[in-house]
């Protein structure tokens, strides 16, 4: 079973994402911010990291950069969730090493659709 690390400081978003992913048959580990995610990423392997951008302590792009520094996460897909689809944001994501982006709000079906493209 594929494991996904879902990172968001908002409990409601985190629950929604986790519920949707679990419903679709994925194993999900939740983290409340980049720092928490980094610690959890060190304990096991994930097939995908799905992270919010704006979070306290460590944001999504910093998390992405830190994960890419580790050989374990060099090739793992990392999707960044943002509320704006600005080019500036996309370029920042690209520079940080993110695999792709997804605009919030999204609906559960869309989330599963996108994840299906990178996890096979």
């Amino acid at each position: 079973m594929h494991s996904i690390l879902a990172v968001d400081d908002s409990a409601s978003m985190r629950q929604m994402v986790a519920f949707t992913l679990k419903n679709a048959g994925f194993d999900v580990v939740e983290a409340v911010d980049g720092q928490d995610a980094l610690e959890k990423a060190g304990t096991r392997d994930f097939s995908l990291v799905l992270t919010d951008q704006n979070m306290p302590r460590m944001d999504g792009l910093s998390l992405t950069r830190r994960l890419r520094e580790s050989p374990r996460y060099r090739n793992v897909p990392i999707l960044v969730l943002t509320t704006e689809s600005s080019d500036e944001m996309k370029q920042a994501g690209r520079a940080a090493g993110a695999t792709g982006w997804m605009v919030k709000p999204f609906d559960p079906a869309r989330l599963i659709e996108v994840i299906g493209k990178v996890i096979r």
């Binding site: 594929h2 400081d9 908002s10 409990a11 409601s12 978003m13 629950q15 929604m16 949707t20 419903n23 679709a24 048959g25 994925f26 409340v32 911010d33 980049g34 928490d36 995908l48 919010d52 704006n54 306290p56 302590r57 460590m58 910093s62 950069r65 830190r66 890419r68 520094e69 060099r74 090739n75 793992v76 897909p77 990392i78 509320t83 689809s85 996309k90 370029q91 994501g93 690209r94 520079a95 940080a96 090493g97 993110a98 695999t99 792709g100 982006w101 605009v103 919030k104 709000p105 999204f106 609906d107 559960p108 079906a109 869309r110 989330l111 599963i112 659709e113 299906g116 493209k117 990178v118």
Partner: protein
């Protein structure tokens, strides 16, 4: 575009309603935090971290609101976020009017959320004026744009938090054609989605709508592409003719996601047009890739990680919620209840073992002692789950005082200590109103106007101090002010005017206590802030209802301190058990004044049936519990009867009982929830021997004695 999910399992329409409650709680916390941060914001030298934190609050609410379909909340937070984003990027300088408008926006958001939480009934909160102001403020560096909108920046500079001037809503959103994706469902009758589309198409000038799912919905959701200049709110109002608001969602049209070419894990790019192609879904065709979803950029992608700046060390935010768990209060209460049962069982066992012969008792003894200790620890641990810090209550006062002081033309500073002091959740809810009243009083009646303070040689700023602390088994909350204090002579005169017995010989404490008399107000000017008359007596009654006490300390010209003492929890109480016939009753220890044996001739009958007892030259009504509760008597009471003098609501009554059994902590069981309301009884408990004892409602008994 195909919309079937290629994931491991199809994501059938997931009911987002199940996440609403947690969103409301979270949004409430974010609003509270935003308000605190705004109030603490030093406009002249705003801290970057604070601005970021405020931004994050608005941002987080917006993200959730948009996801869960609360479009009005998302719309207002979007404007708020825009202004905050410019502030944190230093594109605008913070100014006091911004704080006012943002605080007012916070209030409006709270109202919007409350409305959604109540099921969306009633009129929508009108935020047109606020949105216009937020836009004007956010456009501060582009005066032309701001002037073109309805509210010029100048008008924004005079707004107050309580009454933002009404400015016409900006018309910006109506001039732009937007491409939206409309998602409807899951619907029991999919035909209703078509009814929406027909309705939309019928209205001239609204725009265009076309299905993007071929009229099919694999996951129970129907999807349409909508081109319109109308706002989300207007569209949803329209659609609500056919489907409920919760069944409709509007999202920006487009894939809403993308992959960076060559990034780790990205799906392979669609090849450049090469003179050949596949028909979608044709036998043998490779899976199609949505071309618009792929971000094509010309600059070479840097190898991942090579550009990574040395990781910034982020400031550690307080209280990450990683290690916390949200559970419903009901579950905790159930746990507390079960532990209560366990405590009783343990007491029954201990009592039973005493009746056993010595050898058996010895064998059981060690085990029973362990059980007792563990039960006690378990009870404390479980009780602590319901304990929440006082900060929840204290945090509401900065905003209240800011508004209040502004209204009264006073300058007030609030200092709080001991916000981390924990108190039972039930008590916190019930103490909030009395405390609010005390703080209002301190600001309204205590603190003098700035000029008067300066004339008295005091600093212009008055200070109100809130202190919470644990003292023994109680929590003590103090409300102190450095205002004018109480005037002994004035209080005594006022008391006599009202026909109260107030000799000059009263001690200071007794004089101060006069303000708890019903209808007693020493304010020379009645203001709309603290109201007229109703005041301290209500505060005292509410606190007494929580088994708490309140006392006052004051020095004229130097201020006043109100000290509220509360039990840690409502679930356990110190009680005095008294025997009447074969029954046992519990008297809350906090209300017991004294007890004594009744000598012959002490009880007198007045007015035919009413009985009074004389205690140190004072006559007190007597209530015989056996008569009151109809306790059966098999014979005359063994010894001399005993009087227990109790006090509540400023009145005293002497309870006539057969014997004093002892003092003990009792676990309070709600009678109403398990049986029904019983007059003069506030609850019940189970004694060590397994018998049920009723807990007396002293306030009710005192009221009874007055009639």
């Amino acid at each position: 575009m195909s919309r079937t999910a290629p994931g491991p399992a199809g994501a059938a329409g997931i009911d987002l309603g199940q996440f609403h409650q947690i969103f409301f709680e979270e949004a409430g916390e974010n609003l509270e935090r935003m308000e605190q941060l705004l109030l603490a914001l030093d406009v002249a030298a705003a801290d970057d971290e604070d601005l970021n934190a405020i931004f994050r609050c608005a941002h987080s609410i917006k993200g959730g609101a948009a996801t869960f379909g609360f479009d009005d909340v998302a719309e207002l937070t979007h404007e708020l976020e825009t202004l905050l984003d410019r502030l944190r990027r230093h594109e605008l300088a913070p100014a006091p009017p911004m704080v006012d408008v943002m605080l007012a926006s916070g209030d409006a958001l709270a109202a919007q959320l409350a409305r959604h939480q109540a099921g969306g009934q009633g009129a929508r909160v009108d935020t047109a004026a606020l949105i216009a102001e937020l836009r004007a403020l956010a456009g501060g560096h582009a005066p032309a744009a701001a002037a073109a909108r309805a509210a010029p920046a100048a008008s924004a500079s005079v707004v107050t938090a309580t009454s933002p001037p009404v400015t016409p809503a900006a018309d910006a959103p109506h001039s732009v054609v937007r491409q939206l994706e409309l998602i409807v469902g899951p619907l029991a009758q999919p035909a209703r989605a078509d009814a929406i589309a027909e309705l939309f198409a019928e209205i001239e000038g609204l725009g265009t709508i076309e299905p993007i799912d071929g009229g099919q919905a694999a996951d129970g959701m129907r999807r349409f592409k909508v081109l319109t200049t109308s706002s989300d709110a207007e569209l949803i109002d329209l659609f609500s003719f056919h489907v409920s608001r919760e069944e409709v969602r509007l999202l920006p049209f487009g894939p809403g996601y993308g992959f960076h070419p060559d990034a780790p894990g990205a799906p392979p790019l669609q090849p450049e047009p090469a003179g050949f192609g596949f028909f979608d879904d044709a036998p043998g065709a490779p899976p199609a890739l949505p071309s618009p979803a792929v971000e094509r950029t010309t600059d070479p992608a840097p190898p991942a990680g090579s550009l990574a700046a040395p990781a910034r060390t982020e400031r550690i935010a307080p209280a990450a919620e990683a290690a916390t768990l949200r559970v419903s209060v009901d579950k905790v209460d159930q746990l507390i209840n079960l532990v209560g049962e366990l405590v009783i069982t343990q007491a029954v066992l201990a009592q039973t073992s005493r009746g056993l012969d010595h050898a058996l008792q010895q064998q059981l003894g060690a085990g029973l002692a362990d059980l007792e200790r563990n039960t006690r620890d378990l009870q404390e641990a479980v009780m602590s789950i319901r304990m929440i810090p006082m900060s929840g209550v204290f945090n509401r006062f900065p905003r209240m005082l800011r508004d209040l002081a502004g209204k009264l033309g006073k300058k007030v500073e609030l200092v709080t200590h001991g916000e981390a002091t924990e108190l039972d959740k039930g008590l916190i809810e019930k103490i909030t109103d009395p405390l609010t009243h005390l703080v209002r009083n301190a600001c309204d009646h205590g603190i003098e106007l700035p000029a008067e303070r300066v004339a008295r040689g005091k600093p212009e700023h008055g200070t109100i101090t809130l202190v919470a602390s644990h003292q023994g088994g109680s929590v003590v909350i103090e409300v102190r002010d450095d205002g004018r204090g109480l005037n002994r002579a004035k209080l005594l005169a006022k008391a006599r005017e009202r026909g109260l017995d107030a000799p000059d010989s009263l001690s200071d404490a007794e004089v101060w206590a006069l303000i708890f008399a019903p209808g007693f107000s020493t304010a020379e000017v009645v203001t709309d802030v603290s109201g007229r008359g109703v005041g301290m007596d209500v505060v005292k009654r509410n606190i007494a209802a929580l088994n708490g006490t309140v006392e006052i300390d004051s020095a004229e010209g130097h201020g006043m301190t109100v000290r509220v003492r509360l039990p840690l929890t409502l679930a356990i109480m110190d009680g005095m058990s008294v025997g009447v016939g074969d029954e046992c009753y519990i008297v809350p220890l906090a209300s017991v004044v004294e007890s004594f044996q009744v000598g012959p001739g002490l009880i007198r009958t007045v007015g035919g049936s009413a009985r009074v007892v004389e205690v140190r030259d004072e006559f007190m009504p007597v209530l015989a519990l056996d008569a009151l509760f109809g306790v059966p008597r098999t014979g005359a009471p063994a010894g001399q009867p005993i009087m227990v003098v109790v006090e509540a609501d400023g009145g005293r009554v002497a309870l006539l009982v057969d014997e004093l059994i002892g003092q003990q902590q009792v676990v309070v069981k709600n009678l109403e929830a398990n049986y029904r309301r019983v007059d003069d009884v506030s609850g019940a408990t189970i004694l060590g021997d397994g018998r049920v004892a009723l807990i007396l409602d002293i306030a009710s008994l005192v009221r009874r004695s007055r009639h």
